[in-house]
């Protein structure tokens, strides 16, 4: 992603540079969400289509009639908590599991009637990195390439290219069991790409990765989309869907409960607010009065010395900052909070998304440490 694009993205959508927890907006660098939006809008060819897919296991309805479509070259984020039916949907679309009813199209081929053609036109990276631990990185890629039927000479070159591209060249001849989590994921992805499938399914591609590896993987996925690959990715990480997807389908208990662009979903969840933490609890009531002069709705929390005020955007935030500067009330922290996809989920279901280990940008470095994955 060239720097100019990043800048452009930030200019158009300042909200994405401000996280709810971290008001240090200069330190936050997010790239544009929705990479393939150009083709998504032009609505060219449909690469993947789910048509009323249903999957029952005995009495349990894992997927209860899900439909969506993904335009070629765009990214669909399938978002939902654990057990929502994301993996079952992916397994049906990738022909690993037969739908109880309904069907789907992948690359124009019917997943029920012509699973073999579907398998030829897609790649899958499953939930657990399914690399073969007793094979080297190179052997892993070659194994799958051979099973695809790629000619040896072609496969040799492709393997080198892929390992290079995923920064695994140095580790190419080491057993995969010595790889770090991030390297395994990259190898898994490299393996999925050996036959250059036009459609790629990724089931929770970054689950269990430390924040750095996660961001690296996002970059790799962005490159793929830029080269024209259609992605379907499932995630419990609301931020991840926001980062990568052009369209988000929110599923809960096997059903679609919302869909749209990340921006649409966020608009639906309500307004932005300014969150402000005071230095001294004693200033709370004074600060609350001051805020009421700038905003129609203010909440104060004594215990955390925190005030939340409804705000329209950066302009409001600047006004509030100025007002406090003049008043002399000391402020620890000030930030603009846009509704996150977590709020969207709460808004839609009345429950929080049950992603137990979702790291925020703030605590990531603390809770997940910073595992390095350089050649151990």
């Amino acid at each position: 992603m060239p720097a100019s694009d990043e800048e452009g993205g930030r200019m158009q959508r300042p909200s994405t540079t401000l996280s709810e927890a971290a008001p240090r907006f200069s330190a936050m660098t997010r790239t544009t969400a929705g990479l393939g939006s150009a083709t998504a809008v032009s609505g060219a060819v449909t690469a993947v289509e789910a048509i009323d897919l249903v999957k029952r296991f005995g009495e349990t309805v894992a997927v209860g009639g899900v439909s969506f479509s993904i335009p070629q070259g765009s990214v669909l984020g399938l978002l939902g908590p654990n057990g929502a039916g994301k993996t079952t949907l992916v397994r049906m679309l990738t022909t690993l599991s037969r739908p109880t009813s309904g069907t789907g199209l992948v690359g124009g081929h019917d997943i029920v009637k012509d699973p073999a053609a579907v398998r030829r036109s897609m790649g899958l990276t499953g939930q657990a990195a399914t690399v073969d631990e007793l094979l080297t990185g190179r052997e892993n890629v070659r194994l799958i390439g051979r099973l695809y039927g790629l000619p040896m000479a072609y496969l040799r070159d492709t393997t080198d290219d892929l390992l290079e591209r995923f920064r695994l060249s140095d580790a190419a001849d080491r057993l995969a069991k010595t790889y770090s989590g991030g390297m395994r994921r990259r190898l898994d992805l490299a393996v999925s790409l050996v036959a250059a499938p036009p459609v790629l399914f990724l089931d929770e591609p970054t689950t269990g990765l430390d924040p750095r590896s996660r961001v690296e993987l996002w970059d790799v996925l962005r490159d793929l989309v830029r080269d024209g690959t259609t992605l379907l990715l499932t995630t419990q990480y609301l931020e991840e869907a926001d980062q990568l997807a052009d369209q988000i389908v929110v599923i809960d208990r096997g059903r679609v409960i919302a869909s749209g662009t990340p921006t649409q979903l966020k608009d639906e969840a309500g307004q932005a607010s300014v969150v402000l933490t005071l230095k001294h609890a004693a200033d709370l009531s004074r600060a609350e009065q001051l805020l009421r002069t700038c905003s129609p709705e203010v909440h104060a929390e004594q215990s955390s010395r925190r005030l939340t005020a409804q705000a329209d955007g950066l302009g409001d935030m600047t006004r509030i900052a100025d007002a406090f500067e003049t008043s002399g009330i000391e402020v620890d922290d000030l930030g603009l909070k846009r509704p996150s996809l977590d709020d969207v989920f709460l808004h839609l279901t009345g429950r929080r998304a049950e992603a137990d280990d979702q790291p925020t940008d703030d605590d990531a470095s603390v809770t997940h440490g910073s595992k390095t994955e350089a050649g151990r």
Binding site: L135, L150, A196, D227, G228
Partner: protein, 277 residues
């Protein structure tokens, strides 16, 4: 961006059949053995230890007609080793299923049978290595093949045939059970009676009559008896022995066919069921 889709160079794909795909899976499984030679312990060190244990510790107190105990012992140990090929296949398959490797294979445009064929062939190779090690050990401690080349070869053929039938049993167990630990627990429970309540380590003639019936109808006994006869390792069947011991070569073939006919469909159904949802 839409042009990027078109400029992607098409990937040349050759058509490969079941045999080539299976051979690729075999290559991968054999690489595993090379990377983790301890996987071979079950068909090398273990049976060698059994051989030495029985030959030198228990052997002295087991009377055998027509041959030295060590000669008598070797066909039994070889039969036991080949029976354990189902153990190898079950553990390997459960591992691949649990780790998502089978899903990975199934998401590829390849024949799904090649996963099983590849697993079977590599397990047979695995067990054959064990048979080879046993033969060398046997030759070192005095075991000999005394009935000519053709008969010797036929005995090895019977071992492989029987191993092939047991592999279906292994695929069935591996597809039904969820973890390697469960497979190990189950297989030990089944394999020990199967390989010990037989003529493998002691003649059946001295067993209590009810046990003797079970032992003599045990397929492993037929295989062991066939190998003993074909290698000339003593202990010909008693006049009152059950039918399979009177005609051990035919019985071994029949048992192999019966086991395959029963377990191959069960195994394929279980594998399909396990890997479908």
């Amino acid at each position: 961006m839409s042009t990027a889709t078109q400029t992607r160079s098409p990937v040349p794909v050759e058509h490969r059949g079941l045999v080539q795909q299976s051979m690729t899976v075999v290559w991968r499984n054999l690489l595993h053995i090379r990377r983790m030679p301890e996987m071979l312990l079950d068909v090398t060190i273990q049976p060698v230890m059994f051989t030495l244990l029985f030959a030198y510790v228990f052997g002295g107190s087991i009377a055998v007609r027509g041959a030295d105990y060590r000669e008598f012992l070797l066909p039994g140990i070889m039969a036991q080793t080949i029976v354990f090929s189902c153990f190898v296949v079950a553990v390997g398959l459960t591992n691949d299923l649990a780790k998502g490797i089978v899903d990975r294979f199934k998401s590829l445009p390849m024949s799904r049978a090649s996963v099983l064929v590849g697993r079977s062939v590599s397990s047979l190779i695995h067990s054959s290595i064990g048979i080879l090690v046993m033969a060398i050990t046997g030759l070192l401690i005095g075991w000999r093949m005394r009935e000519g080349f053709a008969n010797a070869l036929l005995a090895f053929g019977l071992l492989l045939l029987f191993g092939f039938s047991m592999i279906w049993f292994g695929i069935w167990v591996g597809s039904l059970l969820q973890s390697v630990e469960a497979v190990q627990g189950f297989m030990f429970t089944v394999m020990f009676p199967l390989t010990f309540v037989a003529n493998t380590f002691a003649p059946t003639g001295d067993m209590p009559s009810w046990l003797r019936v079970i032992a003599e109808w045990n397929p492993v006994s037929s295989l062991t008896q066939a190998c003993r006869n074909l290698w000339g390792n003593g202990d010909p069947a008693l006049a009152d022995a059950a039918f399979p011991l009177q005609h051990p070569v035919v019985a071994s073939v029949l048992w192999s066919v019966i086991i395959t006919v029963i377990f191959a469909p069960l195994a394929m159904a279980a594998f399909r069921r396990r890997s479908r949802d």
